[in-house]
């Protein structure tokens, strides 16, 4: 069956069609071309012609002209629209005319840079010119580094290397910095949140070093669709950036379908398991050999789906090796092999986390299945964009889970299609982030007392650093005088640079490293007796050596997986803002403490609870930001008596559940970026209070934005609860009845309605 026939059957067969909550056919879009700019180097023109490129897409032409006139640009166009030419053309053109010119390419991941270097080198080969491109990352051998520093026209690296290896040793990169004309930032939308706030500072440092060497490079950025591409680029680059967002690339016809699994227990609001629904859908596609990618929201889901799909392949007589999993934590070589397999067609289907959402070249796939709403409109478009890079028909399916946000989306498709995607938030002036990078900046070059760094005056911070003997002021400049190498103490990606290494001891004589997991996720994934799944293989965690950051595992074959529960407490440090109302609210700095308590053993396929165990790990704490809501006693007073504690507890659980689940729709964040805590009598407010906090240490402004989006959030929460078909609560609105009690749903709604909401627009 072809994809078209398969789609026809899906929409006409009543049993299948009943699950379709929404169906849209997006017509093909023709290409818009422009002639090669007349100023484009003729050598480059003929190289492009030899590649079969006779004209440019309109956005490529526009990008070239904008760069030529000296502007910073951001190109926002879909996957496979020829984005790379938007930066490769101006760069190569410049180097051909000015052989001393240099360019720096920044990619968020190694895999991406490997892809783009191949493409760039292909073009250079056709040019027959002496243009050298080098990749400089952790894998670059020391012997090659010297040559790269001196001779590389194009240096390809990532923000982390720029931060720890290049900027602190900039004198070795004299040639690069003296002649730096362009800085390419690919996948700009990846630089958001804490990571983006760090990268914004790395770019400030980069521009500062360039100034020292007398260069002032132009920035050429590319981004997937986000709500605020220009604003985001302006903040990251630190200067106004010209936006190019009208694509000239063609695209094939595409079907987008939202699938809602049928309700199996109306009273409890339980729907058929999403993964089972995905399994059925993937089964059809695998059966008919349509190249397919399935996105799971967690590593666990991705691994479970891999297992299911391998079984399906076996059932249909296909080689199970044509089905693969893909996620962070696989070794780089494993990942490269899977990407190659997808491009070359030897791998037919892959179950992945959002690790493959990025622009890694995996060729052209026919179908994408999203097992659950990825949490943001932008991610959804990116994951759906993984199918249909050709002019052919493609299909993307969003299979909803019972989560409130998923149910909200499938019931309000207009929210998804009409709402602009989320805003990428960064805060490079976050005090913690800023301070870390000021140390690095002073290390790189003494900081003048009146030197601008970012938007704010930084002398107060420098004075504080001087008190800690990290810098020394001589009246005119701040000099770095601490002995530690500051960049090593600052990880761009998360608060902690550490990983727990997972060691397979199945063969005692030859222990083998199978992967690693970052320190924050480790308690939930590799606690003792956890089942850790890697490449579809189950491992039992025998021992977790927390001090040494090592987990020792053995291969097993069991019919269950494990899920950890974590107890969370919250302490308010400082209130940054508050709004009195019938539902008073505030936001500010908090300390979160967390301790994994128990884990559950859940049976594969049925998710039946088959056992549990205790987790013995130390409590961890970190600073972050939170928003909180205080429930007014008047609201919860019954006609005669106030609600008893267990009723109040249920109401708070229900309310916080709805809020924390709907909020990601309004913040560009993942559901897992937010945590919730509720207290029937908070030590800070002395009232019943619910807290929504940012999981990332330090926070990036999500809490503050929640505080400001109050009215919209409350309205969405009311709508979510009102429109849910369940009676007393279900996982799709306020959480299961077992957790919120019989009155939780109604009480949460009552609290929400008590809030005075201001009409918008």
């Amino acid at each position: 069956m072809t994809l078209r026939q398969l789609l026809d059957r899906l929409s006409s067969d009543p049993r299948r069609a009943s699950k379709i909550a929404f169906w849209r056919e997006i017509p093909p879009r023709p290409a818009r071309f422009v002639e090669f700019p007349y100023s484009l180097d003729q050598n480059l023109v003929s190289a492009l012609r030899r590649r079969g490129i006779e004209q440019l897409y309109s956005h490529q032409g526009e990008a070239f002209e904008a760069v030529r006139s000296g502007r910073h640009i951001t190109v926002v166009t879909p996957t496979a629209s020829g984005k790379t030419l938007c930066y490769n053309l101006p760069v190569l053109d410049r180097i051909l005319r000015e052989p001393g010119a240099r360019a720096l390419y920044l990619f968020p991941t190694k895999a991406l840079s490997a892809d783009q270097v191949d493409e760039l080198q292909g073009l250079i080969k056709l040019l027959n010119a002496d243009i050298k491109t080098f990749t400089y990352d952790g894998d670059t051998p020391a012997s090659a580094r010297r040559a790269i520093r001196a001779a590389g026209h194009v240096v390809v690296t990532n923000p982390d290397m720029l931060h720890t290896a290049i900027l602190p040793h900039h004198t070795k990169w004299l040639r690069l910095f003296e002649n730096l004309r362009y800085v390419i930032i690919d996948e700009l939308h990846q630089y958001r949140g804490v990571f983006g706030s760090h990268v914004g500072n790395v770019i400030r440092r980069l521009r500062r070093i360039c100034r020292f060497y007398g260069s002032d490079p132009q920035f050429i950025c590319t981004s997937a669709t986000i709500g605020n591409p220009k604003e985001h680029a302006d903040r990251l680059v630190g200067d106004p950036v010209t936006l190019i967002d009208q694509t000239g690339a063609p695209s094939g016809e595409k079907v987008i379908a939202f699938i809602n699994p049928p309700v199996v227990n109306r009273e409890l609001g339980i729907r058929r398991d999403t993964l089972m629904e995905v399994r059925d859908l993937a089964g059809d596609l695998i059966h008919d050999s349509i190249p397919t990618i399935v996105f799971g929201r967690s590593r666990l889901t991705a691994e479970l789906l891999t297992t299911y799909m391998k079984d399906l392949a076996k059932e249909y007589g296909h080689d199970p090796a044509t089905i693969q999993g893909y996620r962070a934590g696989y070794l780089p070589s494993e990942r490269r092999a899977i990407e190659r397999g997808l491009r070359e067609g030897t791998i037919q289907a892959v179950a992945s986390t959002n690790a493959l959402e990025l622009g890694i070249d995996i060729g052209q796939l026919g179908a994408a299945i999203l097992a659950g709403y990825p949490g943001s409109i932008a991610s959804t478009w990116q994951q759906m964009g993984r199918a249909g890079r050709t002019t052919d028909l493609s299909a993307a399916f969003l299979v909803a889970t019972s989560d409130p946000l998923d149910q909200y989306i499938v019931r309000h498709p207009e929210y998804f299609f009409d709402h602009s995607p989320e805003h990428a938030l960064i805060n490079p002036d976050n005090l913690l982030v800023l301070t870390s990078h000021l140390k690095c900046a002073a290390f790189e070059l003494p900081l003048g007392v009146n030197e601008p760094y970012g938007a704010t005056g930084v002398n107060d911070i420098m004075r504080a650093l001087a008190e800690q003997k990290i810098v020394h002021g001589d009246g005119a400049r701040w000099h770095y005088v601490a002995e530690r190498f500051p960049a090593e103490d600052v990880s761009l990606r998360s608060a902690s640079t550490e990983n727990v290494v997972i060691i397979d001891q199945t063969n005692h004589a030859r222990p083998d490293v199978v992967g690693e997991v970052d320190l924050n996720s480790a308690p939930g994934f590799v606690h003792e007796d956890a089942i850790y799944i890697h490449l579809g293989q189950q491992f039992h965690v025998e021992r977790l050596d927390w001090e040494q950051r090592r987990a020792y595992v053995k291969r097993v074959n069991v019919d269950y997986y494990t899920q950890a529960e974590i107890a969370v407490g919250i302490n308010v440090i400082n209130e940054d803002g508050s709004a009195p109302d019938t539902l008073p609210r505030a936001h500010g700095e908090v300390v979160v403490s967390y301790r994994p308590t128990i884990f559950k053993k859940l049976k594969l396929f049925t998710q039946e609870n088959v056992g549990w165990g205790k987790i013995h790990l130390p409590e961890g704490t970190y600073h972050t930001t939170a928003a909180w809501w205080i429930v007014n006693p008047a609201v919860i007073a019954g006609p005669s008596l106030p609600w008893p504690n267990d009723r109040l507890q249920g109401a708070l659980a229900a309310l916080s559940y709805a809020l924390v689940n709907i909020a990601p729709a309004y913040l560009m964040c993942d559901r897992r970026d937010l945590g919730r805590v509720y207290e029937i009598r908070s030590p800070h407010t002395a009232r019943p209070t619910i807290y929504v906090y940012e999981v990332l240490p330090g926070g990036v402004g999500l809490a503050e934005r929640m505080f400001r989006l109050h009215d919209e959030l409350m309205r969405a929460a009311i709508e979510l609860i009102e429109h849910c078909g369940c009676e007393q609560g279900c996982p799709s609105c306020v959480g299961p009845v077992l957790e919120v009690g019989n009155t939780g749903k109604a009480d949460a709604l009552q609290i929400l309605r008590s809030a005075r909401l201001h009409t918008v627009m």
Partner: protein, 377 residues
């Protein structure tokens, strides 16, 4: 005893200390050390010994050099000039004066200068927008020699360790190297020069020891057999080999082999000695060397037997003996778990493949010899 002089500019201090050339440090007069050290380099007419004190040990652009000591033989004395940065803002003045001073020399001697002092100074010059090209002067990093000569014997080759174990120099009052950066930062805050006075002495002691160590290594390659200090003979041999003093190198290898138990070092040393014996056509000595190794039982049997086979075949022209050695080598390999490879069949073990190949070839060769003998008879 040294004499001292001080000079001040606004932003940096200049100090001079002089020692008569017959001053003895580490059992060697300074003059002797300066002369005999040249045997190991550097080439160049005017040599200076250089050592720096810094605000950190990690390197990179944020590490300052606050004290530079330059020693040289001048007017019949050993003269140490120390440039000291009184405040970080005075760096550019100090570097300018330093560059001027360094122009007097065309060769430098340091301890770990290639990885630390010189790149760091180069960076400081760049950051002050001064150009001084260290790559233009000749440079000898005595640490690279020290690593060869003492690492295996002492388990390290830091200057402090070498002073204690090789130079036998006692520093009665000294500041530990790791404390120096924080002492200087403290001085920046308090302005109390007294507190960092020991750093100047430390730097001076480092420079004298650098000169002595340079002299000692020079003496060792000049008169290897007169060496009285503990040394890695194998390392000294390789050093001499690199200088094409092969006979002296061979002697060192022989001394090294007396008690060398580390298989990889022994293998390197035996191979180097064998190369020398082969080049000088001392075939019987060579045979004796490999035969002796069999008794030693440090190197793997197959390795020795393979070398013996080569020796019998090509130098002694005895194919039958060579074949016997090869077969014995194969038998040894079967009995051992060479790299664990015999566990998985051994079919792809390159050593086995090589030996089987040699055996087959030797078998054919022997058969031919018998045939030709037969036809003669």
């Amino acid at each position: 005893m040294p004499s001292e002089a001080k000079a001040c500019s606004l932003s940096f201090d200049l100090r001079r200390k002089t020692w008569p050339l017959d001053h003895v440090h580490a059992h060697m007069p300074l003059e002797t050390a300066a002369q005999i050290g040249r045997a190991v380099g550097p080439t160049g007419e005017r040599v200076a010994w250089l050592d720096t004190e810094t605000t950190g040990l990690a390197g990179g652009t944020g590490t300052y050099v606050f004290l530079v000591g330059i020693g040289a033989v001048e007017d019949g004395n050993f003269v140490l000039t120390q440039y000291f940065m009184r405040d970080l803002g005075g760096e550019i003045d100090m570097l300018e004066a330093l560059a001027e001073h360094l122009r007097r020399f065309d060769a430098l001697v340091t301890f770990n200068g290639s990885r630390f002092d010189l790149p760091l100074l180069q960076t400081r010059f760049l950051l002050s927008r001064l150009r001084h090209d260290f790559e233009q002067s000749e440079h000898l990093d005595v640490m690279s020699l020290a690593r060869r000569l003492w690492y295996r014997r002492l388990g390290g080759y830091s200057m402090a360790l070498l002073e204690q174990m090789v130079l036998k120099v006692d520093r009665f009052v000294d500041v530990a190297g790791w404390m120096i950066p924080s002492l200087y930062v403290q001085y920046l805050q308090t302005g109390d020069l007294e507190a960092i006075e020991p750093i100047f002495a430390h730097n001076a002691a480092d420079l004298l020891s650098l000169l002595s160590l340079h002299g000692l290594t020079g003496e060792m390659v000049t008169h290897p057999q007169q060496t009285r200090v503990a040394v890695d003979w194998s390392g000294l041999g390789h050093l001499l080999d690199a200088r094409r003093e092969c006979a002296a190198a061979a002697e060192c290898y022989r001394v090294a082999l007396v008690d060398e138990r580390d298989p990889s070092v022994r293998r390197r040393t035996v191979t180097a000695l064998a190369r020398h014996l082969r080049r000088t056509r001392q075939t019987m000595e060579l045979l004796e060397l490999w035969d002796g190794e069999i008794q030693r039982e440090v190197l793997p049997g197959w390795l020795i037997l393979e070398r013996l086979a080569m020796l019998w075949e090509w130098e002694l022209k005895d194919a039958r003996h060579a074949l016997a050695c090869t077969e014995q080598a194969l038998a040894t390999l079967n009995g051992s778990t060479h790299n664990g490879s015999t566990l998985n069949g051994g079919g792809t073990d390159p050593v086995r493949v090589r030996l089987v190949h040699r055996r087959d070839r030797l078998q054919r060769k022997c058969a031919t010899i018998y045939q030709s003998l037969g036809s003669l008879g």
